[in-house]
Amino acid sequence: MYFGLSEDQIFFQDNVKKFLEDNASIDVIRKIANESDKTSKEDLHNGIVILGINNILIPEENGGLGLDLLFATAVGQSLGEGIATLPFTGSYVMAPIAIKYGANDEQRNFYLNEMSKNNVNFGVGFSEFFGSRNESELSFSNNKVNGKTLFVLDCDFATHIMLSDKKGQIGIVSLESSGIEIIDLITVDKTRIFKEIIFKNTEVDILENTSRSDEAISNAIDAGRIVTAADSLGASKAMLDKAIEYSKERKQFNRAIGSFQAVKHMCAEMAAELEPCYSILWHAAHSFDNKEKNKKIMACHAKSHISDISKMVSKKSTEVHGGMGFTDLLGLHYWFKRIGVNRQILGSPEMVREEAAQSQGL
């Protein structure tokens, strides 16, 4: 019995963390966020491709690393901790899983082989399936897609977009096809860009199994939620670490503010709530990897619980920094906003909890 990340997983996780520390300082992130620096973004992406992040979930026979979701989750924590301005959840977690479960043999081999060589990269737009809002509507017919979808993830380096309709059918569109209009959605979180995409009679390749079963989309969303939770947990850890560090240096009333009990208790509360988040996160990924009966419940709870705790941590750790926490100068707000957006991505906590209730027959 061993509950926790393996040495290999920790090693991979640390490598990613180190890479981001060395290459994505707050100044680099700020430049990317202000859109004044396209090359840094590309350099960072090349860097993580060399680390193999794009290949974690691609089977070895298709040229990937053939690792599991727990691995991806471990890496997701590091990406959140370093607020990586990079695709991950959609491109490298949800897309390969959707293909694994949804594609026929020919589709599977084609896409996975190309993905492993970094020739194909996916943006992912599944919001039609789990929580469509007023503005959007998307339909497939006769291998054409029409309509509009919002909050497509990971479009930065995308060559293709993976979409779903209300029933959970999944289709793939090449960005070279005609009839595609892409619009930037500007969220508070400038470390990532989300898109609105409008399709007019655009050619689409439907993943064959997805017209019969929602297994593919359901698994992809579970995995996406777990990895989004990992991102928030990593970001929260970074915020708590910064708060503790700051509290030891900053002096008021001739004492380090960290010696004030009010400040200590805020930090203890953050740590006490955050610590079990690691366990539920890894447990959820493990349940997913082992196809356990409760895997959907675990994924839903990991996402909604960690979203709540991260929201609390993002507030309290900002408070520990006083006015400095509120400035653009310190850049703490990048983590705050990342956590804020993750909370809504792939389902807000209340929505996801309702799914947890339904999936246990309540």
Binding site: M1, Y2, F3, G4, L5, S6, L70, I244, S247, K248, R255, A256, G258, S259, Q261, V263, K264, H265, C267, A268, E269, A271, A272, E273, E275, P276, C277, Y278, S279, I280, W282, H283, A285, H286, M298, H301, S304, H305, D308, P349, E350, R353, E354, A356, A357, L362
Partner: protein
């Protein structure tokens, strides 16, 4: 990550399941004055509590790693087996082995720091439920600041003579013995002046006054000492080492105050209750607001349970560092349990306030009792605020509070 316990444990689980089937419905004839919970008062198989303890020890389901010469099973300690036993006993509602401060705190302390004579004399009858112990630490002026305790012990003619008062002493009125912190070195510094003494509760000069707690049970007591005289050898560790001896047991207590298996059972009972209760004809479980809140609590319980698996894992795999995960259990576990019990009252509304043997009461009023009981556990065994001091200073390495100046 590997959550399989392996074949040995699969077999063991089956063995325990069979045992539970065999003893289903076991109940006790009263053998000590400690009240039994209602569920163990009726059933087909009758025996004394002490006989039940002996069966459990023989099977190795209790006192597993305690040497036979002290009345234990004399096997290897096996934390996973302990967990399996706890889980299976809880599932099949078989009475668990006795717990309490003697078994959970004193026995580990004696095993670690007691003299050979003390081990021989006390451990076996304690394991058999024949000696009940109470913990005499807190005093009216020494709660969170326990080390400021003032109950005095003087060595006179080869005996300790004890004067002073303890308070909040749980189960003192049923106990044969007390393990007690007493100031024996008045000239030493605060922490260095304390000794750990073992006091028979029938010694002349002890007066016990039960204190009714908010559940309206007499859960704890005041204990007064007037020239109480006990042999010199009733000390654990050396003179002035009582603080260190006590700290060895405090860590045992904190682990036992927030059991995640019990919490999960309670959550499942709450879900059952929500399926049965209705508001204006609608089942509570179908009410969107309550459903959502239930799921929120379920998420927290699963996170807490997963955290305890991680702590368990670190006991099996020595190289795992889970310092903070262990430290937060008392704080998070007692607060969460209190929240869960309180939410159950909310879903019942006015019916949730019924108590004692009122008509229409649900589940024997257990939700109100536990809601209050867990507030007691939030305070007892180191308050939530003290836990936060410990987490921030020892876990997160934040600066210690500047020492408050002692009065002139």
């Amino acid at each position: 990550m590997d959550l399989n316990f392996g074949k040995e444990y699969k077999d063991f689980t089956k063995e325990v399941k069979d045992f539970c089937k065999k003893y289903k419905g076991v109940h006790f004839t009263e053998s000590s004055k400690v009240p039994l919970s209602d569920s163990f008062k009726t059933g087909e198989i009758k025996m004394t509590r002490s006989d039940w303890q002996k069966i459990l020890i023989e099977k190795g389901y209790f006192a597993r790693s305690i040497p036979q010469e002290y009345g234990g099973h004399g096997g290897e300690s096996d934390i996973i087996k302990s967990r399996i036993i706890a889980e299976e006993f809880a599932k099949s509602k078989i009475p668990p082995p006795m717990g309490g401060q003697g078994i959970d705190m004193l026995v580990p302390t004696l095993l670690e720091l007691g003299s050979e004579e003390q081990k021989q004399k006390y451990i076996k009858p304690t394991l058999h439920g024949e000696i009940i112990w109470c913990q005499g630490y807190s005093e009216p002026n020494a709660g969170s600041d326990l080390a400021s305790l003032q109950t005095k012990g003087e060595l006179i003619d080869g005996n300790w003579v004890i004067n002073g008062q303890k308070i909040w002493t749980s189960t003192a009125q049923y106990s044969q013995m007390m393990f007690c912190l007493v100031r024996t070195e008045p000239d030493a510094s605060k922490h260095a002046g304390i000794s750990y003494l073992l006091i028979p509760m029938d010694a002349p000069g002890i007066e016990i006054r039960p204190l009714v707690d908010m559940t309206l049970n007499a859960g704890f007591n005041e204990v007064f000492f007037t020239d109480v005289t006990i042999p010199e050898k009733n000390i654990v560790g050396k003179r002035g080492e009582g603080w260190a001896v006590a700290n060895a047991t405090l860590s045992h207590e904190r682990g036992s105050l927030s059991d995640p298996n019990a919490m999960m059972n309670r959550l499942n009972s709450l879900i059952e209750r929500m399926k049965q209760e209705t508001i204006n004809g609608e089942k509570v479980i179908n009410n969107k607001v309550y459903r959502n809140k239930l799921m929120k609590i379920q998420g927290k319980v699963i996170a807490f349970q997963s955290n305890s698996l991680r702590v368990l894992s670190a006991k099996v795999n020595k190289n795992q560092d889970v310092k903070i995960a262990g430290m937060i259990q008392k704080l998070v576990g007692t607060e969460l349990r209190h929240e869960l019990e309180g939410f159950a009252i909310d879903i019942m509304g006015e019916l949730g306030t019924l108590y004692e043997n009122s008509p229409n009461i649900r589940d024997g009023g257990s939700w109100q009792i536990a809601y209050m009981y867990f507030l007691g556990l939030i305070i007892g065994g180191g308050t939530s605020q003290i836990q936060k001091n410990i987490i921030s200073e020892r876990g997160l390495g934040m600066p210690k509070e500047p020492k408050v100046q002692q009065g002139a």
